[in-house]
Amino acid sequence: MKRIVLALLIFVCSVFADNVFFHNHWTLWKDADVLIWSADKTPALDPKEFCLSLKRNNTGIGEPKCRLFGEWERDSIAMRYAGWLIANMDKGIKAEYLRARHPAMVAKIESVEDKLILFIGERDGQIYAATFDENAAEPVAAGVFESTGDKIALGDKIADAFFDGTTKRRLTKEERAKKMTEPDESYKEIPGFQGWAGVAVGYSQAKIPLTPNNWYSSHINSRVRNYRITKDSVSLWNFIDDSDPQVALYVGGTWYGFIGAELMYRYSYHDVKTDPQDTIYRELDYWGFHQHEVGINVVLSRTYNLTKWFHTTPFAFIGFQYSFFVEDIGLKNDHKEHSKAYDVRIKFEDSYKGALVGIGSHFVFFDHYGLGLRAGISSRGRNIEEDPSPDAAAEPTTIGSSTIDCFVNLGLEYHFSM
C-alpha cells in the first residue's frame, strides 16, 4: 500500500514539476527536420536520442531527422535572442511576450520553411524548451522541465509535451512554390461554392420542449365533433394530430463557407382527431390530411476541419414556407349514403404561409458523404394575397392561422463543391 502511495506521489510530483506555458496550434510535419538550438555549451538534449523519443512517442511522425542547429549557434543575432529568451521564459508567460523584435531575427525565423526548431536552455537547474515554426516570430509552444541529467528521459518528456499531435505531409519544393503563387481564397472573383443535397426523416410535434404544457393542451386535447366542431380553430392542431413522422428533401449551398440558401420540401400525414364518442363517424373509414411544405431558407454556417477526412459545419437557418393540406377521406364500403354533416365538413385554406427558424449541423466524411442533423420551429399562418375587406372584423377567423410546431430531422447528404 505504502509503495502505491509513494508511486502515486512521485507521479503527481512529476506531473506538476513539468509545466507547459502555452501550446498553440502549429503544424507538426511528417518526417520532420528538427533543429535543436541551444545557447548552452553542452545542450541538454542528444539529437539522436531525441529522434528516437519522437518515434516512440508519435508513430505518425515517420522518419524524423534531428541535428544541432549550428548555423544559428554561430550567428550573433540568434545567440543574442537565445540569451534573452532563456532569461525571459518565466513560468506561465504568454507567447507574445517572447516575440523576437530584431528584424534580422524575425527574418531568420520566417525562413526556416517546414523545419521545426526546438530551443533548449538551462536556467536555475531547470530546462526551458520552446518550439518555433515559420509562421510567427514568437514561440508556438514553450514549457519548463525538470533537469535530471538523463537526456533520454528529457527527450521523452519534450516529445510528449510538444510533438504528440497529428502530423502533416511536407510539401515538395514545387508544391511549396505553387502554393506561394496561389491567390488568396477570399479574393476570388467567383466565390467558392459548397453545395449539398439530402433526404431526411424526422419528427414534428406542437409542443416545443421546455415550454409549459398549458400553452398547447387546449389544441392537443381538442377533438372534432360532427365533422367540424372544435373549441377553437386558430390552430390546425385542434383538428389534426400534431405529432407525426415526416420526410424531407432539401438542396442548398453556401458561398465563401459562410452564407447560403436552401430549398426544401417536407411531407407528413396527419390523422383528423375525430371524437370517438360521436356516433356520426360510424360511416367513416379514414380521414386525414397530407401535409406538403415547400420553402426556402437563408443559411449562415461555419466549417471546422477536424481531421483530414471529417469536417463539421454548424449552421443556423431562417426562411419561409408554403404549406398545403390535401384531404384524404373515405367512407366505409357498407355506407352508401353519407350524413349531411359529411358534406359540410371542415375545410382548410388552400395554402398557408409561414416562417421557420432553427439550427443544425452537417457532419461530412471524406468531403462528400454527410449526415445532417437539424431542429427548428415552423409556423403556418394566413396567406394574405388581397387587402382585407372593410367588414373583415365581422368575418370568421381563418382556420389554422396560428399553427406552430417544432421539428427535428436527420438526413443523409451528398456534398459537392465548385
Partner: protein, 230 residues
C-alpha cells in the same frame, strides 16, 4: 410577450449607445512587472523628446524669438523634468540619447487603435551609462508634446491622426502629452508603457507655467509607474 420584446429592445438600445462611446486604454504593463523602481532610476530621451506645437503662439507669449523657441523650451523642459525626477528618486542617472539612437524605432500597442513609437534596446543587449554601470531600470521618454488644448487620441489613435486640425485654435488649457516606457535593463523588456496627458488652466503663459506642467507630468509618471505594478 410584448413586455419581453420591449425589454429586449431597451437592452439592445442601451448596448448600442454604450458601444458608441469611445474609451481608450493608455497603458500596458508586462505581466512580470512586480515592483516599481523606488530608489534609483536612469532616464534617457530627454534631449530629443520635447516638442512644442503652436510655436509662434508660445514665442509670442514668452517673448522669445520664433527661431529659437523649440531649442529654448526643449532645454528648459528637459532641465525641469530632470530636477523633478531627482526629487522623486534618490539616484537619477542620465543616459545620453546617443546610446539609443542606433536602435530601430518600434511600435508598442496600448489599445486596439493606440500605438506609440519609440526606440527600445535590442533583446540581449544591456545599456550602460557613461560611467560603465548597468542601471536596473531605464525610463525612456519617447515624446513630450507641449501645446494648448491637446487631446492625446489625436496623436496616438491611428484612426484620428490624419484628421485636420480645427480652424480655430483654442488656448483654454496648457497641455502636455508624454509617451514613455519603463525598461527592464536586466531582462531587456518593457515593464510599463503609457501615454499620459496633463492639462493645466492657462491664465497667462509664463515659464513658471511650463515648469509647473512639466513637474505635474513627472509626478504623474511616478504615480503611474507605481500604479502599473501587476
Amino acid at each position: 410577450m410584448k413586455t419581453v420584446l420591449h425589454f429586449a429592445i431597451c437592452i439592445l438600445t442601451m448596448c448600442i449607445l454604450c458601444g458608441c462611446g469611445q474609451s481608450y486604454c493608455w497603458h500596458q504593463s508586462h505581466p512580470n512587472y512586480k515592483k516599481a523602481p523606488t530608489d534609483s532610476i536612469a532616464v534617457t530621451g530627454l534631449g530629443d523628446a520635447f516638442v512644442v506645437t503652436r510655436s509662434s503662439w508660445f514665442a509670442k507669449k514668452l517673448d522669445i524669438s520664433k527661431d529659437s523657441i523649440q531649442t529654448f523650451t526643449s532645454h528648459f523642459c528637459s532641465k525641469a523634468f530632470l530636477d523633478q525626477l531627482q526629487k522623486s528618486y534618490k539616484a537619477v542617472t542620465v543616459i545620453p540619447d546617443a546610446a539609443f539612437s542606433h536602435f530601430p524605432e518600434e511600435s508598442q500597442k496600448l489599445d486596439t487603435r493606440i500605438f506609440m513609437k519609440g526606440r527600445l534596446p535590442e533583446q540581449g543587449i544591456v545599456v550602460k551609462d557613461s560611467a560603465g554601470n548597468v542601471p536596473a531600470y531605464i525610463l525612456i521618454i519617447h515624446e513630450f508634446t507641449l501645446g494648448t488644448d491637446l487631446q492625446r487620441e489625436n496623436f496616438y489613435d491611428y484612426a484620428l491622426i490624419h484628421n485636420e486640425a480645427p480652424e480655430k485654435k483654442t488656448s483654454k488649457n496648457l497641455s502636455a502629452i508624454v509617451s514613455y516606457t519603463l525598461w527592464d535593463n536586466m531582462k531587456q523588456r518593457p515593464l510599463y508603457s503609457a501615454v499620459n496627458q496633463v492639462d493645466q488652466p492657462n491664465v497667462k503663459l509664463t515659464l513658471a507655467d511650463i515648469n509647473k506642467i512639466v513637474v505635474s507630468s513627472v509626478q504623474q509618471i511616478t504615480q503611474s509607474l507605481a500604479a502599473g505594478v501587476q
